[in-house]
Symmetry: C2
Subunit: 298 residues, 2 copies
Amino acid sequence: MKIGIIGGGSVGLLCAYYLSLHHEVTVVTRRKEQAAAIQSEGIRLYKGGEEFSADCSADTNINSDFDLLVVTVKQHQLQSVFPWLERIGKTNILFLQNGMGHIHDLKDWRVGHSIYVGIVEHGAVRKSDTAVDHTGLGAIKWSAFDEAEPDRLNILLQHNHSDFPIRYETDWYRLLTGKLIVNACINPLTALLQVKNGELLTTPAYLAFMKLVFQEACLILKLEDEAEAWERVRAVCGQTKENRSSMLVDVIEGRQTEADAIIGYLLKEASLHGLDAVHLEFLYGSIKALERNTNKVF
Amino acid sequence: MKIGIIGGGSVGLLCAYYLSLHHEVTVVTRRKEQAAAIQSEGIRLYKGGEEFSADCSADTNINSDFDLLVVTVKQHQLQSVFPWLERIGKTNILFLQNGMGHIHDLKDWRVGHSIYVGIVEHGAVRKSDTAVDHTGLGAIKWSAFDEAEPDRLNILLQHNHSDFPIRYETDWYRLLTGKLIVNACINPLTALLQVKNGELLTTPAYLAFMKLVFQEACLILKLEDEAEAWERVRAVCGQTKENRSSMLVDVIEGRQTEADAIIGYLLKEASLHGLDAVHLEFLYGSIKALERNTNKVF
């Protein structure tokens, strides 16, 4: 099928490479130079010391020709994408943002499109406008949002490279909250403490502090199985113990973090339901201060 | 009497100006240029739009001629002062550091000197090597540490300018912990959130988070009257609502903070007595990360 990938970051290039093996893919980028580079060079993917390449189209416009649009920009960039999507004919749109900040937007978004949401469990680092390093093999998991009908799309997306499985899940809320709780526990703490993920397990006070954050987030998300979720948070910390979280990397590199997508969603939900979010409010305020910090010269 | 003031920062210059009105004062500085400037120009003090000046000696050496030495350097600079103090004849030494980090050092310090500790409740901003702005009128409160005999010194220190009262207190632990609990609650939070002191009262989640920090610190310090102490923390936040805490200013200006003096003492005590310090550990780690941050170029 004809797939448009919106966004030429690490996730966008990763999706573009793998999906172009079975589909006709166009990457839609903001910058003309990146579109021109992809159009002429294709996309290179590095994996396990090897280099692969795939031909790919690219454009700076979204048109109505696509059977599926995969939106890979960050949550805080979505506002500039929505107007484009409102102008095109009815199609399938899969949103692959971190966190759940976009959920509040999608709930209020009245358009004819069939909307899907998903999570990316791959590790990927963009090396250039046309190259991506596939650093961690994982999966993409997606689900229908609202009343979308996923069956046809599901069949079309099941044929894929074994390093890039795409799995359908029936419950979008369970899918997204399952990832959000992990991000909410690990990302802000590692960004503020400037530690690798594993240190949240090995420093007892940090683990205890993370548990307090976890408990707040659990109540807000109304998670059914708290014990299972906490084990998952600990497991991810352990499996990624040598990694720097994306929020820590964003802070170090002076970029805007995904605090709104991750903590902002929880705070909005807490406020809607009159729940306490003392630790999350503090983490949010501190990360936002850090963003202001690194964006100015003292 | 002959008084030596060790340190030419804001507190050192403030003490030097006021004490020189009734005593023979020498400021001992690390830098030769500052000593030379004080020696030739004296000290200027700004207060309420007026300018005052006082003659003053200055030196870069500590000798045995003093009846009283007032140590005004920061806690993390004390280690370079101790060896000097160990070489001079027995005298009275008053330590005016923020926090209580120096208490662990003083307890282990076996010297013949009579040791006193005190707190500074003045607002003061150094304007140059020889000038200080007395921004907030307060008091100096001091107390005998260990077995020092304060009576004679107390009589000599009671004659003072009315804007610079010096008050003797009988219980050094009560005196220092009373100030520490306020600093521990206000300083790290305002530095991480980058807010003025008043915002800790007006944002409900920040107030609730500060209460959690307060409760941890109270248990560690074994404070007798928790309710009174909490009221004092709130009162100071209110009275200084438009102020930036010293730790916030240190972070903004890329200087080392007094995290060790303030939180470090509490963590050491918690560890000695097997007490929980989950929030304080997190604050300490985050402030230390911020110090590393501002001291390097990303």
